[in-house]
Each structure stands twice: as structure tokens, then as C-alpha cells.
């Protein structure tokens, strides 16, 4: 796995719009971005309504994922090229999700929607309909997903990376600052977690930093190559961005995303918190 296998440039994406065997997928929470203009031929996935269970806090199950991808006209052999807003947070989350369910060929557009817009590249408002497929998903690959008990058991023994902003890590604020700050969970972080904000891995236009800069970033912050790693944020989308950097760009082994993240951990009774 190397950078070119998992990441494509905006130029590459623009040249390959409409190619058979490649499906562009925009992933946002707020799909009004897609509706206001998207890459030509791209289908949309709604982070909340398509990818979250409507009742419980969890993913949609394997069969629901199969039905979703089938309805969007995505086949098992297609190359799925993901992009989205928020510096690709939700696209990175979808990338991790597609990998969890075993999709073979998934890529991100470097810089996502932000770079595309800043470059003034064309957007389309045409409705996209692809013929339905019969998608088959694998059993979830739990080697890339961490649950709360594992996080608690990993305190002091694994690399735990809190990718939120320093003010969320310290408990000064409880959510990214574009959201109201009234939250149920306690402020702070998992004891022994390193605070390496996702934003340190990205340039201002949303593209990822070079492999060399990324390797240097984690080494400087005390990342231990000999240990397994768990990344978390507030709800698991920013930590997907860091999971992508560590596992897919830098090729580190045994990296998990804890998608329960601070909303879950900060609400658990009796677990240790550091502030």
C-alpha cells in the first residue's frame, strides 16, 4: 500500500470523471453541499442517515450496507473515489467504513471538496442515477475498529492518540467550535493519550502533508512504533482522518479507530479521565 494507491489528486479526479469502473462518492453530514453542486456523476452518501443505524448508536449492519451500495449503483469491483467537506473528515470516515466492510479499491481525493472549490473546478447540479447493483459486503473487519473496553485496557500500554484540538483535549471546550458547547459528557481526555490534532496532518487547503512531514510529526510527538495504536476524537470522523494517515499513508500496522470516541468515553461511569 502506498500513497498513490489510496490518494488521488484533484487533477486526476477531474481527468477520470465518467470513467467506467470508477464511482465518485461525496460524503457529508449536510448533503446540501452536494445538492448545491457536486463532481459530475458523483453519488452522495449522507454520513448520518445512510451510514448510522437509525435507532442505536452504531454502524448500519452488513445487509443494510449491501442494500445501500447496491442502490447507489456501486459494484464490488468498482474503484470508489471518496471526497467531501470538512477537510475530508467524513470522506475519511467513509473510507474506513468501506474498508471495514471489505471494499477492495477505495481512494480519497486529496483536499476533498475544499481544494476543488478553491481551485474553481466545475461542479454539476444534475441528478445522478446509476443502475442498481448487487453488492456483497464482507463481515466487518474488527482489526481496524476499537471499542470502549479495549480503550480503557490500553491506557498506559498502547499509543492512544486524541486528534481533537488542544482546547478540546484540555477540556476547555467540549466540541469543535462550530457547534454549541452544551454537552452531556465530561471534558478532558483518556489518560496517557497524546494530543496530535488531525489538523497537523493537513495543509490549509485540506490536502495531506507529505509522507516525510507526516512521519516526522508523529515521531516528534512520541509515537511508539513498537506499540499498537488507537485514535479517537469526539464522534470518530476526525480520528478516521488520522487513521487514514497512519495506516494508509504511513503504512503502520495495528491501527484502530475508536468511533465511540469522546462522546462515549466522556459519558462512561467510573472510567479515568485526565484534564
Amino acid at each position: 500500500m502506498s500513497r498513490s494507491d489510496v490518494l488521488v489528486t484533484a487533477d486526476w479526479a477531474q481527468e477520470h470523471l465518467g470513467d467506467p469502473g470508477i464511482v465518485f462518492v461525496e460524503v457529508d453530514e449536510d448533503t446540501s453541499a452536494y445538492d448545491g453542486g457536486h463532481l459530475e456523476g458523483a453519488v452522495k452518501l449522507d454520513w448520518k442517515t445512510d451510514l448510522q443505524d437509525p435507532l442505536r448508536r452504531d454502524f448500519v449492519g452488513r445487509e443494510a450496507f449491501e442494500a445501500l451500495l447496491s442502490s447507489r449503483g456501486i459494484g464490488n469491483d468498482d474503484t470508489v473515489v471518496l471526497y467531501g467537506g470538512n477537510n475530508n473528515w467524513f470522506a475519511a470516515y467513509a473510507y474506513w467504513y468501506f474498508k471495514l466492510y471489505g471494499h477492495r479499491d477505495v481512494k480519497l481525493i486529496d483536499g476533498g471538496r475544499k481544494k476543488w472549490e478553491l481551485d474553481g473546478r466545475p461542479l454539476s447540479k444534475e441528478t445522478v442515477a446509476r443502475p442498481a447493483t448487487t453488492y456483497r459486503a464482507s463481515e466487518p473487519d474488527l482489526s481496524i475498529r476499537a471499542f470502549r473496553d479495549e480503550v480503557v485496557a490500553s491506557i498506559g500500554s498502547k499509543n492512544i492518540i486524541d486528534v481533537r484540538s488542544p482546547d478540546e483535549f484540555s477540556g476547555k471546550i467540549l466540541a469543535p467550535a462550530h457547534l454549541p458547547q452544551e454537552q452531556a459528557q465530561k471534558g478532558g481526555h483518556v489518560p496517557t493519550a497524546m494530543n496530535i490534532p488531525w489538523s497537523k496532518a493537513a495543509n490549509e487547503d485540506g490536502t495531506f502533508k507529505s509522507d516525510e512531514d507526516l512521519a516526522k510529526l508523529y515521531a516528534e510527538q512520541g509515537y511508539d512504533e513498537a506499540k499498537p495504536t488507537i485514535a479517537y476524537c469526539r464522534i470518530g470522523e476526525r480520528s478516521s482522518h488520522t487513521w487514514f494517515v497512519l495506516r494508509e499513508l504511513l503504512g503502520k500496522s495495528d491501527v484502530k479507530n475508536y468511533d465511540g470516541s469522546w462522546v462515549e468515553y466522556g459519558s462512561l461511569v467510573g472510567v479515568p479521565i485526565e484534564k
Binding site: 454520513w47 467537506g85 484540538s165 482546547d167 489538523s199
Partner: protein, 97 residues
């Protein structure tokens, strides 16, 4: 939940006795700039949040009291300004030259 909500509009439902709201608009050449990226940086210049301005050029953050920096990036250019925020409503304008 982490997706940036629609920018601008009413503050109804926001408790300004507890929330520290930083809001304003981005301007260029005498007109508001829609679709500009605005990020909020903390006292150490680290990224804290980012939103995209509304059709009227508006942005809004929910922060905490203290020193912050607002930085905007748009196809027409960039601008930056510091702001000292207090609990309640803190308003400012970002002008791109």
C-alpha cells in the same frame, strides 16, 4: 454532528449567558463573500474549527472566553484577524483586500 451547520441566521435557542459566540462576515470589494472558508485558531495558532460562509458571507463559532484568531481562505484571497472573546456575542468582520 460535526458537520458545520448552516451559517448565519437567528441566534434563537443559543444561551448567550453561557455560550461564547464569535460571528461575523467576510467581505471583499464592498460585497460579502459566500463560500469562503473561515477557520478559528486557538491562542497557540492551532486549528479549532472551520466553517463555510453563507450566501450572505456569514460565519459563526461557539468558543470559550480568550484570545482567538480568525483566518479566511477564499478563491478571491485571504485575511486574518485576532479577536478577544468574552461570554456572549462577539462580532467582527474579515475584509479580504
Amino acid at each position: 454532528m460535526c458537520g458545520a451547520p448552516k451559517q448565519g441566521g437567528s441566534l434563537a435557542g443559543v444561551d448567550l449567558s453561557t455560550q461564547t459566540v464569535i460571528q461575523g462576515s467576510v467581505w471583499h470589494d464592498g460585497a460579502p463573500v459566500a463560500g469562503a472558508y473561515v477557520r478559528l485558531l486557538d491562542a497557540t495558532d492551532e486549528f479549532t474549527a472551520e466553517v463555510v460562509t453563507s450566501p450572505e458571507g456569514e460565519f459563526r463559532f461557539f468558543a470559550a472566553p480568550g484570545r482567538w484568531t480568525l483566518r479566511t481562505l477564499a478563491p478571491v484571497g485571504r485575511a486574518e484577524r485576532p479577536i478577544d472573546a468574552e461570554v456572549g456575542l462577539n462580532e467582527t468582520t474579515l475584509a479580504i483586500d
